[in-house]
Every structure is written in C-alpha cells, then in structure tokens.
Symmetry: C2
Subunit: 330 residues, 2 copies
DNA sequence: CTGAAAGCGCTAACAG
DNA sequence: CTGTTAGCGCTTTCAG
C-alpha cells in the first residue's frame, strides 16, 4: 500500500480511502490511485484490516460432523447461503472424530477470532465453552443443545417425532418393535429413544432391552445389527431406527431377508420414495436448521454480541411421511 | 499479551516464547506465565500472529458448488480431512450461483490471504485468475480444469467413462439412445457428451439431436425432460445421463412409466443398489478427488509455492457398475 | 535464559 | 479534499 501511495503521489490514507470507497476523494485522485492499484496488482489485505479495526473478522466458524453425510451437507449449505450475502465467510472444521477434536477445532476457530460459532456438538459436555461464551463469542448449537453451557440452539422435536413414529407402528398391530440406533451418548439418540419409550408405555407394552441395539454408526453396522436381531431370540416384527444411517442399514437387511418387518426411521433421505418396500420416516428439514441457526447467530452479532441476552431455543417440527414402494405403510 | 507480561513480571517476548513452546525459558518462568494466562483467559490471536510472520494464514480456501449435493459434500469432507492434521482450516464459499459469484468468492478468499485455493469452477473462463496465480497463490482445480489459466487439476476420465457406458447400452442392442444432461456450458457435460458421440460413432449409429436434452439441473427438471422425450416423436429405448442429478430424475420418470427403457448414468450415488429397476452407473470416487486435490495443494505449499513448477494433472478412473434391483443390466 | 525495539499492512483519530 | 501519527497483537531482530 505504501508502494501504491508513492507511485500515485498520495498518502497511504488516501489509498485507503479509495479502496474502501470512502467519500472525500477527488475523482482525479481516485482514478490515479485505481490506475496504480491495477498496475501493481495490489489487493487489500483483509487480515491486517480486521486486525486494526479490531471488531470483526467477517467470518463465522462451523464445527460440524461428516460433510459427506447429506444431513450435515444440507446444514452447511444453508449456513453458507445466509452468510454470503452479508459478506461473511464460513470456516469449517470437522468434529466427527470426537469430543477432543471438537474442542481443538473450537479453540483454533477462536484463536482466529471468528465472529461467531455454529456448533453441532459431538461430546456431551460443553462446559469447556463457558469461558468463551462469557468472553462474548456468540454461539449457536445445531441439532443438539449444549450441555453445561448456556447458548442458543436449534433442535428438532426428537421425542415427539419418535413417539409418533413408534405409535404408528403400534397402530399397525406391532407389539414387538426393535430398535437399531446410533450411540446412546448422542443426545438426539437419547431423546428419540425416550419417544420410543413413551409410545410403548402409552400402549401398555413392556420394553424388551434385548431387541434394542445402540451403537451402529453407519449403514453396514446397522445392517449387521439387524441380522443379529433376527438370528437370536424372538425377532421383532417392526423396527424403529434413530437416524438415516441406521434406517438405510436396516432396510438393506430387510430387503435381503425378504421384508420380514415394518420400519419407521428418523430422518428423511433422498430416494427414500423409490426404495422397493414401504416404510415411514420422521421427516424434518436440515436446511431449515442451518438457516435458522445462522440467522440466530447473525441476530446476536447485529445486537453487538452482549452475552447476557437469554439463550433462545428453536424447536423444529417433524412430520411422519410414507416412503418406499408398495402398499403404503402409513 | 502485555497484560499477561505485566502480571507475570516478564516481557512480552517471554510470553510469546511460552505460548509457542519455544525453548530457552526457565521452567519457573513458564509456570508463572501459564498461570497468568489461564487466570486471564488469554488466547493467542492467530490473526495478528499471521500478520507479523507474514507467510502463512494456515488456511486454504475452498470454492465449491452446492454442499447439499453429496458429490460436493464428499469432496469437501475429504479436503477437510487432509487439512486438519496439518493444522489448516478450510474456508468455504459457494460458487453455485454462477461465475460472478465464483470470482467474488475467490477475491474475498485472496484478500484474506488464504495460503492456497481449491476450486470447483462454475464458469468456463478462468483468465481472471492468471494474475493471482502469477502472484504466487497456489491453486488446484477440481472436477473441471481451468480455462485460460495454468494450474493443477484433478479430474475424472469423463470421456472414456461416458464412452464405456454408452457402448454398454449399444452392446445390449440399443440404437436409439437418448441423453438427459446438465447444461452444455459445464465442461464435464461436454466431455461426457463427447464420449457419447464416440460410442455412437464406433457403432456406426447416427446421432439424433432430437433426443439429446441438455439443461436440466436437478432431478425434477430431468424427470420432466424424460417425459417430454416420450411424448413427442420416437422415444429412445435407452438413456444416458450426465450426472447423478439427472440420473435420479430419469429413473423417477421411467419408474412411473413402467420402466420403458434402459439407463446408464454418470456418477454413482447412495442407495443406487436398492432402486427398483436395473441400470448401470459410471462410478468414481469423489472423496479421492478431494483428497488428491488437497494433497496436490499442500505439496505446492511445502515446495514454497514457486509458481513456475509446471501444472500437474491427475485423472481419476471410472468403472461401470451394475445398480438397481432386478435382472442385472450389465 | 531474557528483554527492548521495530514493524507486519492496515485504519482511527486528528490535524491541515 | 488530503496527510500525519499512532497503534491493532503479535513476532522478529538483536542485544544483553
């Protein structure tokens, strides 16, 4: 920038004025400066700019699980769509590897002084964030609320969605309903299981822990778990699955085995409508989660980031939808 | 940091040494400093740090299309996985809205002084990047090579993959093979179409432009295009589709119409194996594309970013895979 | 082993 | 309309 100033025969401040479209620069000077700028291929350094003005880095951090999972991809996409028009960039870090990684990523993002954080928590303890929150970094939790820290969150009505799904299976005459779900350490799994319990209790059905398998994290593991359920004891006549990964696995196993059971799964997914057997899903809108989370974060930022506004919590609705081909399962 | 120094009774340089694990600090001093740091909740400001040391921001920019598309999601995920162990963050910007947006995002990323760029180009003209490349910003193009600029790229063997797919349809006896594809402005569409032409030519079949529809950008549009092909003139007996979006649309239409034609589609996708009709896909590995692209970028960075190493080009292979249920279509 | 001074590239605050 | 001076928070350089 001093180079530009020298060649244009003006002061650095004038150059600064020109590149920031500030008023009070004569048109002649402007043109001279712009000419030199394009001559030199000069580009403003936003890092230094933000350092000086101190307040904003015009970037938000996104801590998220596997982007290859369309669920997370949709969230990320929606966030970027909200950030872009505001000239904010999104810095992403994967939390998939576990709670330690989550903390590392958050720390790295804070060191870079992102203006705010959007977090899909992995661990079940966010106390490590309280000091950060108190220091005034706005953050919004997506999909799962923070544990041990007060912050905004956007979540799904997990319990109700699960209850409706399982009640639907019961309504179809099932009394022995197995579960194939992701790790119980994940709070959404817990909530969805609570909905399962609710529905059983409401129908006066005793829960049989032997047909509840928690842990499978991808379709292959869920498929194996389903087989295990059939190969020992009295198999379930229907399955409830806690997310799209496990739903896919269970459907695969059932298809292979000749569709021996009904299925109700949490999360909708593409092509669900074209799978060769009927089932139902608890549908919701991941993009809406990203969108609302980002809006929430920006409303905090616009409000000047006073950390003492009480945490807001948005709960997104679910709907039970019939999927798959064949006689509708709803 | 001056605060920390004062309270610890040392100089800022010593604090700097401690937070960077530099040698030559007595254990006693270290402990004193660390104590004050955690007392104050001090966090190193990486922005300022990078400003001074000038060289690296420890971040790479990713300009990519819709992250909600699993194809792009897989790429992004793989890139993050390569960057994370090197302590690099990934700053993402969506290019989906078109070439202008692509340029804006790239400019914003460069102003932030990312160390390198990974780009999935939207436009068909990257001449705007030559000055940036000459200034020494390493960049790698993914999925499509740059036009009008010299840079590394990782692409798929589009032409060969398409040729094999269409040859396969011909081998099954088809001579009237329709195309439903994304915009011809996208270079991958062009290449895949060239493969289609190759296969027809090799079999001595005349191309009928009336059954080649280019433009559909999502499944719904592709579905409508398929219907249009059936509702006017002599319909094709088989379809070639240029990406997973259009494949899904065509399959939807065919299923609705009672599977009146064979299909070969570019790109594999989840659950393809469970769809209720047989078809083939040109499979490849998007994650591998992201991984290799990121590795390429880092190898440039490690090499000090000398812009004059000649551009490398990685071409990823494809395989023809039978998908769907029913009598194998391969 | 430790510190003082200079400065990264830019903008804020105040002059002219 | 334009310029000068300071300084963002840190690291580099060189001197103790």
């Amino acid at each position: 920038m001093p180079d530009v100033a020298r060649l244009a025969g003006v002061s650095v401040k004038t150059v600064s004025r020109v590149i920031n479209d500030e008023p009070n620069v004569s048109t002649a000077t402007q043109e001279k400066v712009r000419a030199v700028i394009s001559d030199l291929g000069f580009r403003r350094n936003d890092v230094a700019r933000n350092l000086r003005s101190g307040t904003t880095s015009s970037s938000i951090g996104l801590v998220i699980g596997d982007l290859a999972n369309p669920f997370y991809g949709a969230i990320a996409q929606a966030i970027e769509a909200v950030a872009a028009p505001r000239q904010f960039m999104v810095v992403v870090g994967s939390s998939e590897e576990g709670p330690e990684r989550e903390q590392e990523v958050v720390a790295a993002l804070c060191r870079r002084r992102v203006d705010g954080l959007l977090i899909t928590p992995t661990g079940d303890d966010q106390r490590y964030l309280v000091s950060e929150i108190e220091m005034g970094t706005p953050m919004v939790f997506l999909d799962r609320p923070p544990v041990g820290a007060k912050a905004d969150s956007v979540v799904i009505d997990n319990r109700r969605g699960a209850r409706e799904a399982v009640a639907h299976l019961i309504g179809r005459g099932h009394r022995r309903i197995g579960v194939v779900g992701d790790s119980f350490a994940i709070s959404t799994t817990k909530e969805r299981l609570r909905g399962y319990d609710d529905a059983l209790a409401a129908a006066g059905i005793d829960k049989d822990p032997a047909i509840v398998i928690l842990g499978p994290h991808d379709p292959a593991q869920a498929e194996a778990a389903t087989d295990a359920l059939f190969d020992q004891g009295t198999p379930p006549t229907a399955f409830f699955t806690t997310n799209n990964r496990t739903t896919v696995g269970v459907l695969r196993a059932l298809w292979r085995r000749g569709h021996e059971a009904d299925v109700a799964g949490f999360d909708d997914f593409e092509l669900a409508d074209l799978l060769p057997m009927p089932f139902v899903v608890v549908a919701h809108d991941p993009a809406e989660m990203g969108r609302q989370g980002a809006e929430l974060l920006f409303s905090r930022l616009d409000a000047g980031g006073s950390p003492k506004l009480k945490p807001r919590r948005v709960v997104l609705p679910t709907t039970l939808v019939a999927r798959g081909l064949g006689p509708p399962a709803i």
